[in-house]
Structures are given as structure tokens and as C-alpha cells.
């Protein structure tokens, strides 16, 4: 596993092969002799406009040399705050007040002088952040950014080579925007593993600890797998410890020696990764594992972890998880349980309690709560009711959406005067049908054209060629945006948003309020949430509000753009559950565009996979996920992390090529693990039946 991931050497051809981490992993050492970082009884309070946020409330954590510790938790659990505290980089505007000790390389990052802290940052620490584009200075050449910590240009070049950046010498003179997302994150990692060394030109020093805050969250699945692999290799080559802050247990599982689970500002479980994943002892860890969307066919219950984390401004007196815990006892509410034997629970689950969640009696009872309103939406909406009837009556109803060979190219105003205009072929010859009341998931990595397809499907963008047909007589398809917060007007409350939309579709004034309330109730927002401004709502609530607004016109099709990618696993599961319910009850068809394969599996009857503007495979969800035919689909599915400890997902090499200019041959040629033929290079493959699926590959028999 020391191959260069970018060179394509460790691409696994064909089927997914799990790579077990067998050698060289340093033994997990919870209490090593001299940890590189030691956090003791850390409390961090941040001052917000509306009160004091108790972000961390007594955290103890040691990181041994060379150890990978994954810090896992939902958003708001305080995990990023812990990372920032170790770096001495808490947001100053929040006027943080801390107590406890955070010792890195002998310096307390809370009380040390600025000079001492800066020395630790230069010599002993490296940092990788979530968004590689935002995290690099856009107006400074990479070479300068890489050497700022005190590394020599020679070392900078070597680091770029180590992290698999091709043409390192040229990259040093480039600016961040000239690189792809995956390369940028590699550069960021290269920068994190430089350190101030001696004066010698080749003083090759790496920091002792790299703090990586959601380093793969902003990346596509295939690139994410490459980056995880890279972390694993680097820590073995340089022996640096890694604190991997992540919400994704799958990423944590693949490389972590130890996993620390943070909830409401306190650690609730710490232990060797294999143990925590195989037999979680804290009910929260178990719930988190159960809530995780997986690629296996079993459709998880809609709400594996009801409730929401406590308000960090008013943390509960007892166990933070008590009000969501199904095993809660009166004693849990009195005082926060101390961390004993790696678990902070008075009644930990027995070791080896590995009961299948579907067999769990509680899980079976947990059917989604149906909210019954006096008059349901279907009563109000003749269109929706018809669609529901039609969908249930027979399958021959008019499809909600038909895309017939649509293409879209964008002009790039590039090149010198007089040179030919370049075209970016965003979508090429895409045909797609969403049956009435059906659900189709369109998956693909960023830049594959899925969002352009979605915009054409909703009529926001006119295709260059091909046709878009909606069900006759139905309201236009409605869009549910990815960033629910940004698609709501900040000074309008949720109810106003829905009422406004009802007015727009011509609902009489007298009925608007009542129908808006019914809609909001239908999506699970109560009266208090209805009157709240978007800012005061949680991510899940905002997404619900956006869905309610989209339903106002009684559309026969909801088009969802990455509906859950901004949400934690538990919230995502709930929103997905809601979408399923709406489809069942209102007969509204779904077109879901997502890069999250698990969400696609959960929602879609049919799944289409896009690559560089074309659909390269489509078929029934079960078939496509269990027996993918196209090598790209196979690679994509294999790259999804699972919670199997130490399983490093095999990676697709490289990144998608540029969609600019005319495409010759199969777009996947540059990354294809199969033996590429001359035909692949010259002829664009068309979709052909492959079992129940259709796939566009010359090499399929």
C-alpha cells in the first residue's frame, strides 16, 4: 500500500476488493509514555450573540506518537472546536474562554505565549481543513504557500511528489484555482506535513501531529478514497500522528487506530477502532452506527435516532444523551457520567452486544409517525390526488418527466482574440424517464453534469437539443435545493414562505393560511417552527421548510438537488424518510440528484450514473448496486467507505477529465481499470442492455 495512489498502481480492477490494513500500524496506545498531544479536562465556552455556547465540557484525550485518532460526532458536537483548540485557533470574535490544559509538544496551547504557540505550529503541528479551495490563499503561488512554514523549496517539491501531485515543479508556480479539487486537497496535505526544520536545504522534517478537520467531506467519493489512502500512507512514512475530525464513521473506520465519539461537548466513548465499531458500548455510538446510510439493500428505519442534540447554550445537568436514549434510567439525569473504561455511560451496552438492528424489537416498532391532519394535502390538491390515484392504479400513467436526448453546452469565453470558442459539453444526449409516482436517482461526481440535467428537467435551463416533457396538466416540477438555508429568505418566517408560494399559484386568500399550516404539519414542522425565521431552525427543519414550499403548488414531480448532503446522518435519514412518505402518500414522483450513493439507493427505484455529461449506466436500484456492470459504477461503489475497521476502499485513479472540447472515445478511458482497447479510445460507447441494466461500455459482453 505504499504505491502512489495517483499513479493508478493501486487501482483495483473489476470487483471491489477490500484491502486490510495488516502491517506497520502502530499499536493503539491510549496512555503512551509521552503523547504528542494531551488534552485534560478541557472546557471551552464561546460567546455568541444569544448566549454562551458551552462547546466543550470536560474533555480528556491523549494522542500517542504516530497514532490516528478519529474524533467523531454530529455537527455541533464540538469536534471542530477541539481541533481548533489544539491549533490555538479558536475564533477570536467568539471571545472564547477555556480552562483545562491542551499540551502539544510541551507547550500549553491555552496559556502559552504567542511565540511559543507559533513555534509549536511551525514545528510540531500541521492542519488540513475541509474545503481545499477556500483553505488555500487564492492570490499566492503554491510554492510560496508550501514553504511558508520554513520548509525549503526542495522539501516542498518532494512533499508534492509524495502526496501524488504530478508535475510538482510546475505546480509550485501555479495558483490554487488552476488545480482540481482533489489536487488542491493533496497540496493542502503536502503543506500540512511540512515543518520548520534546520537550515540545511534538505532538512526533511514532518510535524508530529496533523489535525485534519473533515478533510474528505467536500470531495467526491472516488477522490475521498484516494485522500484517505494518502493519509494512511503518510502517517506510516513520516510517523506523524493524525487527529481526524469527521462526521463519517466510514472514513474513521478505514484508517483510525482509535475512535473518540463526542456528543454535546463531552466524550461518550473512546476505544480501539475495531472494538468501537464492532461492539459499541455507548448507546449513542450504537445509534450513530445504525443511523449511517449504507449501500446494502436493507432500508433502514426512517428515524433511527429520534430527537436532536441538546442546546449547547443550556446543556443538561446529567448525561447529554439521556433524552434521546432508549435505555435511559433516572440516575442518568443527575450528573454527567464519567468516562470509565472508555465509555461514559452508567449502563453501557454489554461487550459483544452485536444484535442486528433489524432484529431489534424496538426497531420494528419504530415505524415512521404519520401526522394526520383534518384535511390532507390530497384533499386540497386535485392534481396531486389524481397523480396519486394514477400512480397506484396502473403503471401506464403518463410519466412525470421525460428527458429525450437532451444536450447542453456552455460557451467559454476563453482563448485569445480570433481563436475558436471553446465549448464545455455539460450534458450530452441524456435520456431519462421518471414514471408517475416513481423515483429516479441521478448520481455522479461533481462536474458530471447532473445539476445541469436537473436544471433542464425543471425548465430553468433550455437544452440545446432534445426535449423535456412534463406530465400534461400537472404543475411544474418543483426544486428542493441543496443548501436549504440559502434558499430561504432570511427575514421571512417559514409560514410566509409557503403562503407566498400559495399566493403565487393562485390559492384564494382565505385558504392560504390553513393550507400552509397543513403543509408544514405534513412535513413535520410544528407551529413554533412555522413562525420561526430560517436562521433559528436546524438544518433538517430548513430542509423540511423547503420541501413544504415546493409542495405548495401540488407538483407531480419533486426535483431534489443533493437533498441531504449538508445534513448529519441522523437528520439525513429523517429527511429521506420524509421524501419516501410524501411519495407514498401524495404520489409525487422524485428525481434525486446526488453524489451520495447511499441516499440514491435509499430513495431511487431506478438509478442512473452520470460521467462527464453522459449517462453511463442505469437500471433498477437493487440490480445496479449489487451487480454494477460499468467499470466506473463498480469503482464508485467500491470507493464508498464502510464501517469495517481497517478496510481501505480501493480507489479509482485520477479525476474526471475536462468536459471542454469535443469528446472522442469513451470518457472513462483515462481511469478505466479494464484493458482499454483501441475502440474505447476512438468510439463513444452507447447504452446497451446489460442484464436488467443498461451500460455504455465497449468491453461488456
Amino acid at each position: 500500500m505504499t504505491d502512489n495512489p495517483a499513479a493508478g498502481a493501486d487501482t483495483i480492477p473489476g470487483d471491489a476488493v477490500a484491502v486490510a490494513l495488516t502491517d506497520a500500524a502502530p499499536p493503539p496506545a491510549p496512555t503512551g509514555p509521552s503523547p504528542v498531544a494531551s488534552v485534560r479536562d478541557l472546557h471551552v465556552d464561546l460567546h455568541a450573540r444569544d448566549g454562551v455556547v458551552h462547546a466543550l465540557r470536560g474533555v480528556d484525550l491523549d494522542i500517542a506518537p504516530g497514532e490516528v485518532v478519529a474524533l467523531v460526532g454530529e455537527s455541533g458536537s464540538g469536534k471542530s472546536i477541539l481541533g481548533a483548540t489544539l491549533l490555538g485557533l479558536l475564533p477570536r470574535t467568539a471571545r472564547p474562554s477555556c480552562h483545562g490544559t491542551v499540551v502539544v509538544d510541551g507547550v500549553d496551547m491555552l496559556t502559552g505565549t504567542h511565540g511559543e504557540q507559533r513555534r509549536v505550529l511551525r514545528r510540531s503541528l500541521g492542519a488540513v481543513f475541509q474545503d481545499p479551495l477556500q483553505s488555500l490563499n487564492p492570490t499566492m503561488r503554491l510554492g510560496r504557500q508550501l514553504t511558508e512554514k520554513g520548509a525549503s523549496p526542495t522539501v516542498a517539491r518532494r512533499r508534492l511528489q509524495e502526496v501524488g501531485v504530478p508535475e510538482a515543479e510546475r505546480r509550485l508556480r501555479q495558483f490554487p484555482h488552476e488545480l482540481s479539487g482533489g489536487l488542491r486537497q493533496r497540496v493542502m496535505i503536502a503543506m500540512a506535513i511540512t515543518a520548520e526544520g534546520g537550515d540545511a536545504d534538505d532538512a526533511d522534517v514532518a510535524p508530529q501531529l496533523v489535525i485534519a478537520d473533515e478533510p474528505t467531506t467536500a470531495l467526491d467519493v472516488s477522490v475521498q478514497a484516494q485522500i484517505v489512502l494518502l493519509f494512511d500512507r503518510l502517517r506510516r512514512e513520516h510517523g506523524c500522528a493524525v487527529l481526524l475530525v469527521t462526521h463519517d464513521l466510514g472514513v474513521a473506520a478505514s484508517i483510525a487506530d482509535r475512535i473518540a465519539v463526542l456528543y454535546a461537548g463531552r466524550l461518550c466513548e473512546v476505544g480501539p477502532a475495531a472494538e468501537v465499531l464492532a461492539s459499541p458500548r455507548h448507546p449513542y455510538t450504537k445509534a450513530l452506527l445504525d443511523a449511517r446510510l449504507t449501500l446494502d439493500g436493507a432500508r433502514a428505519d426512517a428515524d433511527p435516532l429520534p430527537g436532536s442534540p441538546p442546546d449547547p447554550r443550556h446543556p443538561p445537568q446529567g448525561c447529554g444523551f439521556a433524552d434521546r436514549c432508549r435505555y435511559v434510567q433516572p440516575g442518568c439525569l443527575e450528573a454527567p457520567p464519567p468516562l470509565r473504561d472508555g465509555v461514559a455511560c452508567l449502563f453501557p451496552l454489554a461487550l459483544g452486544d452485536n444484535t442486528d438492528r433489524s432484529a431489534h424489537p424496538a426497531a420494528a416498532e419504530d415505524t415512521p409517525v404519520r401526522i394526520s391532519v383534518g384535511r390532507t394535502l390530497a384533499d386540497h390538491e386535485p392534481g396531486a390526488a389524481d397523480a396519486a390515484d394514477a400512480a397506484t392504479a396502473d403503471g401506464s400513467a403518463e410519466p412525470a418527466l421525460v428527458l429525450e436526448r437532451v444536450s447542453k453546452a456552455f460557451d467559454l469565453r476563453k482563448g485569445r482574440i480570433g481563436s475558436a470558442r471553446l465549448k464545455l459539453n455539460a450534458v450530452v444526449d441524456v435520456s431519462l424517464t421518471v414514471p408517475a409516482g416513481g423515483a429516479v436517482a441521478l448520481v455522479g461526481e461533481s462536474g458530471c453534469g447532473k445539476t445541469t440535467t436537473l436544471r433542464m428537467a425543471t425548465g430553468l435551463l433550455r437544452p440545446d437539443s432534445g426535449s423535456v416533457t412534463w406530465a400534461a396538466g400537472a404543475a411544474r416540477p418543483q426544486l428542493v435545493f441543496q443548501d436549504a438555508g440559502a434558499s430561504l429568505t432570511p427575514w421571512m418566517n417559514v409560514l410566509d414562505h409557503v403562503v407566498e408560494r400559495l399566493r403565487f399559484v393562485g390559492v384564494p386568500k382565505g385558504e392560504r393560511m390553513e393550507r400552509a399550516m397543513a403543509l408544514l404539519q405534513r412535513v413535520g414542522l410544528d407551529g413554533r417552527a412555522a413562525l420561526a425565521k430560517p436562521r433559528a431552525l436546524s438544518g433538517g427543519q430548513r430542509q423540511r421548510a423547503v420541501i413544504a414550499r415546493a409542495l405548495a403548488s401540488g407538483p407531480s414531480l419533486l426535483v431534489c438537488d443533493e437533498p441531504v448532503s449538508a445534513l448529519d446522518a441522523t437528520l439525513a435519514a429523517r429527511v429521506l424518510g420524509l421524501l419516501e412518505e410524501l411519495r407514498e402518500e401524495l404520489g409525487v414522483a422524485l428525481l434525486v440528484v446526488t453524489h451520495d450513493l447511499a441516499a440514491a439507493r435509499r430513495l431511487g427505484d431506478d438509478v442512473a450514473v452520470m460521467y462527464l455529461g453522459r449517462i453511463i449506466e442505469h437500471g433498477p436500484a437493487d440490480e445496479l448496486f449489487e451487480r454494477p456492470r460499468h467499470p466506473y459504477t463498480q469503482g464508485l461503489l467500491a470507493a464508498v467507505p464502510t464501517t469495517e475497521p481497517g478496510r481501505l476502499a480501493p480507489t479509482l485513479a485520477g479525476e474526471p477529465p475536462s468536459p471542454v472540447g469535443e469528446q472522442r472515445g469513451c470518457a472513462f478511458v483515462s481511469r478505466c481499470p479494464l484493458a482499454v482497447t483501441e475502440r474505447c479510445e476512438l468510439e463513444v460507447p452507447v447504452l446497451r442492455p446489460a442484464g436488467p441494466n443498461h451500460a455504455a461500455c465497449h468491453l461488456l459482453r
Partner: protein, 334 residues
């Protein structure tokens, strides 16, 4: 980058054509009759008509416009009605002092603006002082600053002169007409120091307003930039705060600052009229006031053209500066 600059220059020509059209239209539409003005009120109608024909005022407008542009290109802006000298000569004489003053003021405004902006954005406890200075300076009108300056530095302290460009002294005529530069070229230190002393007060008065505007925009932009992720990255490298701000913050905060600077330097060309009057500066400001009072249209048109060109050049410089500051714009604009 070279392509971009070429394009910018090309668009500059386009703007000048529009400007010349505008000036020409104003000239033809205005009720004042230059022929009557030059011949006097008592001239006979026949003489006027003959003069009109002679000067080409009876030709079609397109022909007149072509002739006008042709003349302008050759440097002929016709003769000033007031001074009876070619407008081009007048402009050459009066524009140089003005450009010396405006140039110094613009430079001063940029330096003061950058300083105030950075100081108020990261000055720690003294940042509030910087903000107070900016607030105070912004609320004072230019003529008020000028009068206070004269009272303090001329009347009370006697450090600086209050009028004119130079003390009484014999000087050579230099190549540029800008005394600060000519004096250096001739190595005449007395000349230089006198020129600089005369420049300080008017340039400062002109610069105060723009400096504050630039400083405020820079402060806002810097505070925004310092919240960005890449600044956090810079801090995570253990750099000094000063290095973080100057190296990672400033360049990224330059876009809005440069826009504001361009706008302010453009406005400064208008502000120069008041300041020249107060400080008896023998420049375009004085020339303009007199030309307007006496309906000297050839002169006014010459002034409009010169100011227009200066304005367009300033904007082109700002655009080029922005592209230099942000490499991402190069891909987009080039």
C-alpha cells in the same frame, strides 16, 4: 495579461470616441454662437454669415464632426475666446500644475488610505483611534481642511506657504513642467524644496477625503478577508499576525479597495477646482472657472476632453491593477 492590457487600451479608444461625440454635440447644441461672440455684437449679418461659411459652420454635422475629430487628433482645439491663444497651448500650460497636484494628492490618498485601513483593521487597542481619525476627517469638507491648514501651518507656525506653486526664484523650463520632477532633473535643490513645500498643504487637503474613503473600504474588506479559511490556514502555519494580515489579507482585500480608489481619484479631479482657488494654484481649476464665467467654449471643451481622458486612463489603471492583484481574474478576462 498582455492581451488584457491591449484590450483595455482598445476599449479606451472606444470610450474616447463616445466622449468626443458628446463634446461635439454639446458644442453644436449650445445656444451661444461662437461666431457672434468672436465678431462682437455689432457685426453685420452678412459678415457673420460670411464668417460662418468660412469656419465651416454651415457644413453638414457629420462633416463638422469629422473635422472636429481630425483637428483634435492633430492637437488643434481651436482658439480660446478669452485668451486668444490656441486652447492646446493653454491646456499644456495649466494642465501640468494640476496634474502635479492631483498626482501627488492621489499618491498621498493611496498611502494614507492603505495605512488607515490596515491600522484600523488590526491596530488592536489603537484601532479605535484610527477609526476616530477617519470619522473626523470624513466629516470635514475640503475647504474647511484647507482653511484650518492655512491658519495653522501658514499663519500660526509659518512652516508652509499658502499660495502659488513656487517662491520667487528663477528657474529653467523643464522637460515635464512638473516642478518636483524638473527640479530634480536639473539638480536644483532650492527649487525642489520650494515646490514640495507649496505642494504639501493643497495636496493634503485634496487627499483627505479619498484617503478616508479608501481606508474605510480597505478596513471592511480586510476584516472580511481575515475571517476566510485561507487566513486560518496561514495562522495554522504559525505566522506572525502582522505577516498574516499583510501577506495573506491585504492582497485579497485589494479588489474593492482599488475600485474605490479609482472612483475617488476620478472625483479628486473635480475637487481640484476648489483647492486651486483656495491656494491660488495656477492650474486647470483656475482656468476652468475663468473659462466658464466668460463662456469660453473652446476652452471648456478642451478641459472636458482632458479630464475625460484622465478619467478613462485612471479606470484602465484600476482594471489592470485588479487583474494583477487577483490571478483568478487573468483566466477570466484575458
Amino acid at each position: 495579461m498582455a492581451t488584457f492590457i491591449l484590450r483595455r487600451v482598445a476599449s479606451l479608444v472606444g470610450v474616447l470616441i463616445v466622449l468626443s461625440l458628446a463634446v461635439f454635440v454639446i458644442q453644436t447644441v449650445l445656444p451661444a454662437d461662437p461666431v457672434r461672440a468672436s465678431l462682437g455684437a455689432n457685426a453685420s449679418p452678412e459678415l457673420v454669415e460670411q464668417k460662418r461659411e468660412e469656419l465651416g459652420y454651415n457644413d453638414p454635422l457629420t462633416v463638422q464632426y469629422a473635422r472636429f475629430v481630425g483637428n483634435v487628433v492633430q492637437g488643434d482645439l481651436s482658439t480660446s475666446l478669452r485668451t486668444k491663444r490656441p486652447v492646446t497651448d493653454d491646456l499644456a500650460r495649466f494642465a501640468r500644475p494640476t496634474f502635479e497636484l492631483a498626482g501627488c494628492a492621489a499618491l498621498l490618498a493611496l498611502v494614507l488610505g492603505l495605512g488607515l485601513g490596515v491600522w484600523s483593521a488590526l491596530g488592536g487597542r489603537t484601532a479605535s483611534v484610527a477609526r476616530l481619525v477617519m470619522l473626523g476627517a470624513a466629516s470635514a469638507p475640503t475647504f474647511f481642511v484647507a482653511i484650518v491648514g492655512i491658519l495653522l501651518f501658514y499663519r500660526r507656525l509659518g512652516w508652509l506657504p499658502a499660495s502659488g506653486r513656487l517662491d520667487r526664484m528663477t528657474i529653467q523650463t523643464g522637460p515635464t513642467g512638473l516642478y518636483t520632477i524638473d527640479s530634480l532633473l536639473h539638480g536644483n535643490w532650492a527649487w525642489f524644496s520650494s515646490a514640495v513645500k507649496h505642494l504639501i498643504l493643497p495636496a493634503f487637503c485634496l487627499a483627505v477625503g479619498p484617503a478616508v474613503a479608501i481606508g474605510r473600504v480597505l478596513r471592511g474588506a480586510l476584516l472580511d478577508v481575515l475571517r476566510l479559511d485561507h487566513v486560518r490556514t496561514a495562522r495554522s502555519k504559525g505566522l506572525r499576525e502582522r505577516t498574516v494580515v499583510l501577506r495573506h489579507g491585504l492582497r485579497n482585500a485589494l479588489q474593492p479597495t482599488l475600485s474605490m480608489a479609482g472612483l475617488q481619484v476620478g472625483l479628486l479631479l473635480t475637487g481640484v477646482v476648489v483647492v486651486e482657488l483656495v491656494f491660488a494654484w495656477p492650474g486647470l481649476g483656475l482656468y476652468t472657472t475663468q473659462a466658464i464665467q466668460q463662456a469660453d467654449f473652446p476652452a471648456v471643451i478642451g478641459i472636458v476632453l482632458v479630464m475625460g481622458v484622465a478619467y478613462v486612463v485612471i479606470n484602465a489603471l484600476v482594471d489592470i491593477g485588479q487583474v494583477i492583484a487577483d490571478p483568478r481574474l487573468r483566466a477570466k478576462k484575458a
